[in-house]
């Protein structure tokens, strides 16, 4: 047996078959060259690069510029450009120009124009949806900004729903998202830097921060991590998140993913850094602590008492989700004397005719519930209601009648599953749902002792986590000066400080308030 294992482990990995790759050295050297002043040659080069003719949406428009008495060519990809703009501001204005200026800048009337010489740079701009204008006799390309990517408009937030507060959510266009944030933070110190993070697809990430608040060290750390990736393509923020987070195998998330611009901007104002990307209807907020996953934006929009009431409810829900199944197993298997006699008899009588041990019962139901959740998420909407019927009837009613599970287990698991929905953040939701299984296993092996031991281990783990250098449970432990917005929030005019664990350049965000007197 042992030798077999040893063999399995020691089995040498077979040498991988070599990839058959084609060298792109020729293309690279071509792209490094500068544009020549001969229009024909330039046209040939770009026709080769873009496979004009084969490539359906790449347009090479040649024409004669009357004012300069020269031939010219316009290159653009018509699916990502605004053809109306091209007609209005470029072609029409060139043909109808009656002035005397010989400069292209004066003839063309597009708002953005710049000169580029290297072929590679021209390509980047064309791929971004701009048009390139080549003129015979000039060794530069004029880049005219006419890009127009297709996408949906601004819609309501779907995953982080609030009743009281702004409803708009990020969409897949980074420009719109930045605009949504600028709408909320009208200051010149809001900086939008962009970094290209992938080599082939050239995906761009926008780094947003307030330059007179953000901690420089944190900022450079973030930039460093963004530049580190050596990858062909990073499609969106969810993929980027996994590349830059502190511990990829961690059970708990360390970067906050939010689709609400109001949340992102309030984090920005506290000195956090926000990342945006095209193709992601959300933003990444970093560093993130446990509390940023636990909170919702509505906690602050609601009045002090109401907001804290929902916090208390959410906390309770989190503990119920985490502990209820594990507690049920621990108590019924090891500490039956803890139950009130009537409940003990009730559980005992229903368990008597059930075939499986309590642990198996609970696992069976937990598994079924997770299945309903997952299937309900993936099911095409026309057959959605079926899930409800199947789930409720088969699992609830029929399983009990068939003596597969006892009704109390159905209640326990359903309660745990229901309360898990109170945790709004998807990542934290997963973390809690997964850690529940660890607790159930330890409770089934060692009773309440195992449950508490595993819970303590979980706490140790949480305390050991860090997100971009910030302890996961800060500012609760270790303690930092902050708005003290952790489990519960304080009165709004007592939240005077930005979170100290971010080490912002400006700590105070509100003036001193003497007792009982409100500001303003």
């Amino acid at each position: 047996m042992y030798s077999l294992l040893k063999k399995m482990i020691n089995r040498k990995q077979q040498a991988p078959t070599p990839f058959i790759e084609k060298s792109s050295k020729e293309d690279i050297t071509l792209k490094k060259q500068c544009i020549t002043d001969k229009l024909n040659k330039t046209v040939d080069i770009f026709s080769h690069i873009y496979s004009v003719g084969k490539n359906n949406d790449v347009i090479f428009r040649k024409f004669h510029v009357q004012a300069l008495k020269k031939d010219a060519a316009l290159l653009f990809i018509n699916t990502i450009t605004d053809t109306d703009h091209i007609e209005e501001y470029i072609l029409k204005s060139i043909q109808q120009y009656s002035g005397t200026s010989q400069k292209v800048e004066d003839i063309v009337t597009t708002p953005g124009i710049k000169k580029v010489q290297v072929i590679e740079d021209v390509i980047i701009e064309i791929n971004k949806g701009n048009a390139a204008l080549f003129i015979d006799g000039e060794s530069v390309a004029y880049i005219l900004s006419v890009s127009n990517f297709q996408g949906r408009g601004i819609e309501k937030a779907e995953n982080e729903v609030v009743v009281k507060g702004p409803k708009e959510a990020f969409n897949e266009k980074a420009n719109t998202n930045i605009s949504l944030i600028r709408k909320k933070i009208k200051t010149e110190s809001l900086v939008v830097e962009s970094v290209t993070v992938s080599k082939r697809s050239k995906n761009e990430v926008y780094i947003l921060y307030l330059k007179d608040i953000v901690n420089e060290e944190l900022l450079s750390d973030v930039k460093e991590r963004l530049c580190m990736s050596d990858v062909d393509s990073i499609q969106n923020l969810s993929m980027l998140e996994q590349r830059i987070e502190d511990s990829t195998k961690s059970l708990f998330p360390t970067i906050l993913y939010t689709e609400r611009p109001d949340r992102a901007s309030s984090f920005l104002e506290d000195g956090y850094i926000v990342l945006l990307m095209d193709n992601s209807p959300a933003s990444l907020v970093l560093p993130a602590t446990f509390w940023s996953f636990f909170h919702t934006s509505e906690d602050h929009y609601l009045r002090f008492l109401y907001g804290n009431f929902t916090r208390a409810l959410r906390l309770l829900a989190m503990f119920i989700t985490l502990l209820i199944s594990a507690l049920y197993i621990a108590i019924t298997n090891y500490h039956a004397e803890m139950l009130p006699p009537d409940l003990l008899l009730a559980i005992s009588s229903t368990r008597e005719i059930v075939a499986f041990p309590a642990v198996v019962e609970v696992f069976l139901m937990e598994f079924a519930f997770e299945l309903i959740k997952e299937a309900g998420l993936r099911v095409p909407s026309p057959i959605g209601p079926t899930i409800g019927i199947v789930g409720a009837l088969i699992l609830g009613q029929a399983a009990v009648q068939a003596n597969l599970v006892s009704p109390i287990v159905v209640i326990v698991v359903a309660l745990g599953g229901l309360t898990s929905f109170a945790i709004g953040d998807l990542a934290l939701n997963f973390a809690v749902r997964l850690s529940r299984f660890f607790l159930i296993i330890s409770a089934s092996l060692f009773g309440l002792y195992g449950l508490t031991a595993m819970f303590s281990i979980g706490l140790f783990y949480l305390v050991s986590l860090r997100s971009f250098g910030v302890p996961y449970l800060a500012p609760m432990t270790p303690k930092y000066t902050s708005g003290k917005d952790t489990l519960f929030r304080r009165l709004i005019f007592h939240e005077m400080f930005r979170p100290g664990y971010l080490k912002p350049q400006d700590m105070k965000k509100a003036g001193e308030v003497s007792d009982g007197k409100k500001q303003g």
Partner: protein, 413 residues
């Protein structure tokens, strides 16, 4: 590769750890037989007869509730002690015997009076599952026959019956608060007497007025359970030495500050018309004032008992609420009556029991400077020779919901 081996090894070790050490006292709830009451009787030689009253979970439950199984199973057998009895019972009972739901320990008078009784009682401190708040009941007949013949008509689940009857009989003061914790505490402190609830389901033919009854003397007719709990068994140094009637138990509770004193209604002969009785509710809100004096080698105990009385019937139509003079007369009457009764009880404890069940040793302890001094004084031995001065202070509460009564002459007119 080395890392993989390391991971594999640690996983195996962890699995072994879990397999070897885990689940050591795991037991599914449905595999236990829940003992609700244990009856103890004297057996042959130094053995005891143990009776188990086992509750049937299936009875009256929604799920398996359609069974014709009885609510309880009762089994009696001889054993050496309470610990071995758990295993012996399993030769008859299929499920593992569990004391998780144990709510009462019932002991026959015969065993309680045995000189070795305390030895068996201390077995219950050894078992992990026996809780100290388990009620303690002494029966006049054999515990096994008490359990067998106890047939509550409405609370067919035995744990419910015992919890409720101890709670409500205790509230009305007819039985004392008696549980294992009190038994052990008072026995070990060796300064007071322990009062245990007394019960029976045999009827005797003695006739006494209400309140003076002992268990079994209360006449009931109709279709009901024959069991009644009334009065108390007096334990000195862990062994039963006597009995107190229902009224004496009530009075003893008035003098005892270590228990929550009950509010109960009782009757006195009407001082204004001998034909009628007055029903009064006695409420004790304040603690007694117990002080101790040493004089010429004699110890004097001064006890002040503050009571609130609510006069609830007024058959002689005196209208106490409106009549100050009559009210004062009534107050004097009550004071002398109650003081008389209390003094009678104190004398009984001094003469018959040579100890007191009122917890006074705790209140008297503060009059000694050191523990040694207190121990040397030996409260239990000194008590019979103490002079006890009882004074009762009565305050009237309300005179019923409606205080006014119509003039009887006007009504008859």
């Amino acid at each position: 590769m080395k890392k993989l081996l390391w991971i594999l090894k640690s996983v195996i070790i962890l699995l072994l750890l879990v397999m070897i050490s885990g689940c050591w006292d795991q037991m599914e709830v449905d595999r236990k037989a829940y003992v609700v009451g244990i009856g103890l009787d004297k057996g042959k030689k130094e053995k005891i007869n143990v009776t188990y009253l086992i509750s049937n979970p299936e009875y009256a439950s929604q799920q398996g509730g359609n069974t014709n199984e009885p609510a309880t199973e009762i089994i009696t057998f001889e054993a050496n002690d309470l610990i071995t009895s758990r295993n012996i019972a399993n030769s008859v009972i299929a499920k593992e015997i569990s004391y998780d739901m144990l709510s009462v320990i019932i002991v026959s008078k015969q065993l309680a009076k045995d000189k070795n009784f305390i030895r068996w009682m201390y077995d219950s401190t050894k078992d992990r599952e026996i809780k100290r708040n388990t009620a303690f009941l002494v029966t006049k007949e054999k515990a096994s026959s008490f359990i067998e013949q106890n047939e509550p008509k409405l609370e067919t689940r035995p744990h419910k019956y015992f919890t409720l009857i101890f709670e409500h009989a205790g509230e009305t003061g007819l039985i004392p608060r008696s549980d294992l914790m009190r038994y052990f505490r008072i026995t070990e402190a060796d300064g007071d007497l322990f009062l245990a609830a007394l019960g029976t389901n045999q009827q005797t033919n003695q006739e006494r007025s209400n309140g003076h009854l002992e268990a079994g003397e209360f006449k009931i007719k109709g279709k009901t359970n024959k069991t009644n709990l009334m009065g108390s068994a007096v334990f000195k140094e862990g062994r039963m030495i006597g009995e107190l009637s229902g009224e004496e138990t009530r009075l003893s509770l008035l003098l005892n500050d270590t228990v929550k004193s009950p509010n109960y209604t009782t009757t006195f002969q009407d001082p204004f018309n001998k034909d009628y009785d007055i029903t009064a509710k006695i409420i004790k809100n304040k603690r007694n004032n117990v002080s101790m004096q040493q004089m010429n080698g004699k110890t004097i105990l001064n006890i002040k008992v503050p009571l609130t009385l609510e006069v609830l019937t007024d058959h002689s139509m005196v209208n106490y609420a409106k009549n100050k003079e009559k009210r004062n007369q009534l107050k004097r009457y009550f004071t002398t009556k109650i003081t008389e009764k209390l003094n009678k009880l104190v004398i009984k404890t001094q003469k018959d029991f040579k100890g007191q069940p009122f917890g006074w040793s705790l209140q008297g302890r503060k009059y000694f400077l050191t523990v040694d001094e207190y121990e040397k004084y030996d409260w239990m031995k000194s008590y019979p020779n103490m002079e006890v001065n009882m004074s009762v202070e009565i305050r009237f509460g309300e005179f019923g919901r409606q205080t006014d009564l119509p003039k009887i002459k006007q009504v008859r007119d």
